[in-house]
């Protein structure tokens, strides 16, 4: 009898082997180390409570700055993404225009906001301006793609009917493509803002403004009670914004 290769079993064995090697290399198969980690976690958590309310004023100010970075970044990104998305829509513009714009958007999107923020810290210096630009640029890449997919998905009969009245492409975009996509645009914009609030809260790690500066600072100076306060405030803000945004998005549907 000929032995047949059992493909699922082989795949499982290979992946399992890779997993073991990887876990060992990153040090997670080291029992003593894990024990040490658990002990430290206990101490860490014990040191965190109660949260230090005296830092509330500075943490609140930083949180507001975080939300400002997210909001300004989202809106600037939106204003740039919208025309680029129109230029990337195959249903409006010829291929030789859409292709380079699509590539540009893909490139911008490949780099995470925090890396863009580092670039902007170098360019415009430390502070929230760099964070805002980082968030804005990433938003251009993300919203640009979502928007052109929305635009290209416009009901072809609507496109044909409105084109049929004899109008040009700008009019077509203004009167058919954008109105048909309007709910999707608002909904994606809210989602982007939610995402950017989270992204903005770590901008401070690279000196690009917001509450991340304090989060990192409290870790480095071992002020765990202040850290807990900052984390709680951030968490509360993110939860409130997520709820509000998903409520509005559900209402749009």
């Amino acid at each position: 009898m000929k032995a047949r290769l059992n493909v699922p079993l082989a795949v499982t064995l290979v992946l399992g082997a890779f997993l073991l090697v990887a876990l060992n290399d990153v040090g997670l198969l080291d029992g003593a180390r894990i024990q040490r980690g658990l002990d430290n976690a206990g101490i860490f958590f014990a040191d965190m409570v109660p949260p230090d309310t005296s830092v509330l004023p500075e943490v609140s100010r930083a949180l507001i700055e975080t939300i400002q970075i997210a909001f300004a970044g989202t809106m600037v990104g939106f204003v740039v993404a919208l025309p680029l998305a129109l230029l990337a829509s195959a249903s409006l513009v010829p291929y030789w225009v859409t292709l380079p714009v699509k590539l540009l958007l893909a490139f911008v999107r490949t780099v995470p906001a925090i890396l863009w923020a580092i670039v902007f810290v170098v360019m415009v210096g430390l502070g929230p301006a760099a964070g805002t630009l980082g968030v804005a640029l990433y938003s251009v890449g993300y919203l640009g793609k979502i928007f052109y997919e929305l635009f290209e998905g416009t009901d072809p009969e609507v496109m044909e009917a409105v084109r049929g009245v004899g109008c040009g492409r700008l009019q077509l975009a203004r009167h058919a493509v954008l109105p048909e996509a309007s709910n999707g645009i608002v909904s994606q914009l809210l989602f982007m803002f939610e995402y950017n609030v989270r992204a903005s809260s770590i901008m401070g790690f690279v000196g690009a403004g917001g509450i991340g500066y304090y989060l990192l600072g409290y870790v480095q100076t071992l002020e765990y009670q202040s850290l807990l306060m900052a984390v709680l405030v951030t968490l509360a803000a993110v939860l409130v914004i997520d709820r509000a945004s998903s409520f509005v998005r559900a209402a749009l549907r």
Binding site: D155, E157, A161, V165, G166, P179
Partner: protein, 272 residues
């Protein structure tokens, strides 16, 4: 632009346009549509239309029939210029339709109502009707949505004539099928077309609404607009068509006055 419920016997426009080189109509008739040896296929597919020729004198109401997939929609899109023929020629009022790629600007002289009407659902009845004027008003007005007062009056009047004026401010999303049909006609009329193309125009309406809408279409034809519509409804053909064209697999099976063919014969020809 008014829709007139005028006399049945319309005078065909006798114009001074030079006679078309391959005119098929009677002497003195202006040909609104001339199709000569049209061949069309989608990329990598067999031919949808094969050596298709047809002429439509101005002001006539033509109904194009045929089984599903016989090429009716393709035919209308070729006339509108949404598709370009592989070979053959489309002439409208004697002049060839210029081939400027499928994305170029289309002529406002031909109104096209697609099968699902192609209305912008998130916009109001009035806004949709006004879109008919986009090919005519200055670009900046169109972009800002600031239509001239006279155009707005036109649009409102068209909506009133079509019996949908009271729903001007409602979003198309919330209208019934018959109401949407009226909005689509209004948009077409605001365009002030010389030719109206309508695809499967009344396929989704109840009989009473169908009759009302067809009266309106006949009114449009009576006002001098050439109407080419595709349909499945034989009773509509019987009552309203002046001329009948039957398509089968992209070729013409019949092309004659409606009075010269019996409904039962048409039914037989439409079987796939």
């Amino acid at each position: 632009m008014a829709v007139t419920e005028a006399a049945e016997g319309r005078a065909l426009a006798v114009s001074s346009d030079p006679a078309s080189p391959f005119a098929g109509g009677a002497v003195g008739e202006v040909l609104a549509v001339e199709l000569k040896d049209l061949v069309f296929s989608f990329r990598g597919s067999p031919r949808v239309l094969d050596s298709f020729s047809m002429t439509v004198p101005a002001g006539r109401l033509v109904m194009v029939l045929g089984a599903s997939g016989s090429g009716k929609t393709t035919l209308l899109k070729l006339i509108k210029g949404l598709l370009l023929p592989r070979s053959g020629e489309v002439r409208l009022f004697g002049s060839p339709v210029r081939r400027r790629g499928t994305r170029g600007r289309l002529s406002p002289d031909i109104a096209y109502i697609p099968q699902q009407l192609g209305l912008v659902r998130s916009r109001t009845t009035l806004e949709n009707a006004l879109m008919g004027a986009l090919g005519r008003v200055p670009s900046w007005r169109g972009l800002l949505g600031l239509f001239p007062a006279a155009t707005v009056r036109d649009a409102r009047q068209a909506l009133d004539t079509l019996g949908i004026g009271h729903k001007s401010a409602e979003r198309v999303r919330s209208l019934s099928g018959g109401e949407r049909q009226r909005v689509a006609i209004a948009r077409a009329l605001v365009q002030r077309p010389r030719i109206l193309l309508a695809d499967e125009f009344i396929s989704q309406l109840d009989p009473a609404t169908t009759m009302e809408i067809m009266q309106l279409v006949r009114g449009v034809a009576n006002s001098g607009v050439t109407v080419v519509m595709t349909t499945h409804e034989l009773d509509v053909v019987e009552r309203f068509a002046e001329w009948v064209v039957v398509l089968r697999d992209g070729t013409k099976l019949l092309d004659c006055p409606a009075s010269e063919v019996r409904t039962s014969e048409l039914a037989a020809m439409m079987k796939p």
